[in-house]
Assembly symmetry: C2
Homo-oligomer: 212 residues x 2
DNA sequence: GTCTATAACCTGATAGAC
DNA sequence: GTCTATCAGGTTATAGAC
């Protein structure tokens, strides 16, 4: 082994394993995904997998952070564009999330599942990702956009429920929807493209206080 | 063994097993619930459990139907009360569902999970429960309440997404919510009691076409 | 009907040869 | 680094005594 190859540790393969594990964990959840599954789809065998990530827990930890991050796109840049109207900014945020979920329809279920399986762990990861510094500018810009008075009478859980409830609904129920409503993936996408502006209107109404 | 006890098959115990299995499957899902778990919490051992329900699959089938049924309360009676206004009827339906979810906060996640794990199976069960005859009067009454013109321009997926998305959101995110927003169960219930009329307003607006 | 004992299997994880 | 071989533990499931 030459000096150049020393400590090579096959980064290419490692990346492939991580990508495979990420996909399978999101698809089937932690418990339903076995190390054999990951090894098989990554084109190696279990011992090789254990060589890279000693335990299943470590394997999961290696992919969980990035998954959570992919669920938390950089929104503060969008919300702070003060030259744009609030509805315009909301629309951009809905678009960003919609794009993430279209690329990864099982992500909402994965998050909700992990939220129940181990809420403590999810919170620890969120803290380690410094999610406060992610939320702070978001809430600050929102507070500014609403004005002090409305902000004080405002319910953050309502915004949370409306945002994720409405945005995740098509994806959480996609399996059922594809049987009940849609014949093709295109029909699903089509309905989604109508759904998005509806969600934006609901959010804008909620933030404007036009919901009484 | 007397004639009276013949074929007794301990219906009491069987009911207890079913109740236990139902609770555990809803709490932890199919894969994360073992036959040992069920036997332990039902106060028997594994072989006794296998005596009643030969396989884990059969055990699950025995409780899955009733679980799905509990997710489909009798709504046709409510929707057909033509002496009451549409908002009043919507409110009653939201109350019924809210009551179910409060009693069983993990039910939404369970359904969504099974929807992904085996959509075919869920559909077969829905058909065997004759869910069409359940939906038909619902849709009929809705069609009548909306009028023919609005009905034709109406999107059923939108109603579906709004209804389940908004109603299930507090329960799907309960684990997180209890850490982020609420200190006690009472605070969660309190916010939920504010959330319900909001959901009713959203549904009424959607059905009335006041959402453009 | 309910138990003990056990089979057959799968999972995560490690040892050790190459 | 990647393989074969193997282990310990847990899971579903059944056989057979009582």
């Amino acid at each position: 082994m030459s000096i150049m190859e020393e400590g090579k540790n096959n980064k290419g393969l490692e990346a492939k394993i991580i990508a495979t594990a990420q996909r399978l964990f999101i698809e089937k959840g932690f418990a339903e995904t076995s190390m054999s599954d990951i090894a098989l789809e990554a084109g190696i065998n279990r011992p090789a997998l254990h060589y890279y990530f000693r335990t299943k827990e470590r394997m999961f930890h290696a992919v969980f952070g990035p998954i959570v991050l992919s669920f938390l796109p950089r929104l503060s840049g969008i919300i702070q564009q003060k030259d744009k109207s609030l509805p315009e900014r909301i629309k951009e945020i809905v678009d960003v999330y919609s794009h993430i979920f279209v690329k990864n329809p099982n992500l909402p279920l994965f998050i909700v599942r992990e939220m129940q399986r181990d809420p403590e762990h999810l919170l620890r990861v969120l803290r380690s990702l410094q999610v406060e510094s992610y939320l702070q500018p978001l809430l600050g810009a929102l507070r500014e956009a609403l004005g002090e008075e409305r902000w004080n009478s405002f319910s953050l859980p309502f915004l949370f429920y409306t945002f994720y409830g409405l945005l995740a609904a098509p994806f959480l129920t996609k399996g059922m929807g594809m049987q009940m409503f849609f014949k093709t993936e295109d029909e699903f996408r089509d309905k989604l493209s109508q759904w998005k502006p509806y969600v934006v209107r609901q959010l804008v109404a909620l933030l404007s206080g036009n919901d009484q």
